[in-house]
Amino acid sequence: MASKHVIATRHTKSIKNRFASRFLRSLLRMKRSDRFGGSRSNEGVRKRSTHRIKMAAYASMARAVGPSRTWSRALLFKLRNRARIQGVLRKRCLVSKKNKKKRVVRNKVIISREPSRTDTLRKLVPGGDSMDICCLLEETAHYIKCLATQVKVMQSIADQSLL
């Protein structure tokens, strides 16, 4: 592990560097578009831009990892199809107002059990719904590593810019 880190310091293509460059670039892009949009200090706008920054961080992490991992693939897929999925959901919501009673009845049929720890983990790790337990644990390990890296990089960026 230690030797790996030493290599990573010299290696420009390490995940940390890739993530940092991507994230900063997306931040820049975001800022530029913000500037042209004008400065608004609304609460909702702030929340939305926070969300955007968060999604940009996740997306750049997933891009930096590449499609070799299941979780990054799932994340990228989700990000790519986010608009479509949300549109579908919205449409479904509009449609389902009529059918709400039926759906309630249908939901009662499903036996709901206490969500186990594995299920919680599946929800946390992107793309974990369709994995068996072995894969899930492996992906979790990698995801934790990447998430820790992401947090570290973001922390240092925030510190730098607050100076």
Binding site: S49, T50, I53, M154, L162
Partner: protein
Amino acid sequence: MDPPLINETSFSAANPSSYTLTEIWPFPPPPPSSTRLGLRMDNLADPDGSLEESTLTDQSSGNGTRIRKTRDFSSEKDDSSKMVSTTTSANDLNDSNGKRRKISGSRSENNDSRAETEASSAANNKTAEQSSKPSEPPKQDYIHVRARRGQATDSHSLAERARREKISERMNILQDLVPGCNKVIGKALVLDEIINYIQSLQCQVEFLSMKLEAVNSRMNTSPTTEYLHPKDLGAQPFVATGTISGPQPTREYVQGSQSEWLHMQVGGSFERATPSKKKSPEVTSASGLQGKPFTERGAFKSATQKSCSGSGSAELICKGRSNNPIRVQSKRNGGIEIMAVAERVGRVEIGK
């Protein structure tokens, strides 16, 4: 009931063909009228035990009567089942395979007589096949997990054991990753720790993005602290200062940072930080004292290549216009540095 059983075992061990016939016997409804078989059933089913001493000569003599045979049928169920189980046990005594014996033994302990007969007969068939195929291929060839002493050698249990080992290995990896997880004992608690850790990391990401958003918005409002994207203020302020500073006809204005990469370097850049600090006063003085944009040629070129080479060249973290001096590298977070490396992309000539 013991004596006839013993008789039967001895008999079947002695005569293998006959026990196969008896094994077939319960399934087809009426047996073909072979007197020998009927007699055998008679012998076994006789509650009095008058014909206990059934020998080969007795079987072959063939004195069966119809009435007795029908009476046999009424009491056939339990007796025949017992008989078959005994035959299986007898066969297993001959058989060398221990596992088969165990299975059939456990099955013969069942209470249900019907199921027992079927199962035991099936086991009997298998044992017959085994005896016909003397060299049965060992099952653990294609699974690389070896069973230790006292562990089951079934293929299913082998696979299950392999899976469990895999899972525990992964759990160990995760335990190493998650801080404070080494002391926790128990899979469930470890999973809890992992879940908590992931959640905390995600919360941190959320919080940091909030922080970054605040920084961004603050930068938007106050242009002097704006150094993440000097490109924005690159165009206008420079021109403005250039025009304000007055007529200086032939001068090349090099924009400090037309585009800017921010790139990470981990550790050991303290030596490289010094030349940039040396360089920074010049730049600040040049721009600050005169109030004019500075000229500088090709100083920034090397900065971008340095990231690949890693050799120490001057790294300039450039603010486009520097009221406060150049904001550079601080070593924190274990040597992670984010450096804004200015890349000179284009030069702007402002002439008359």
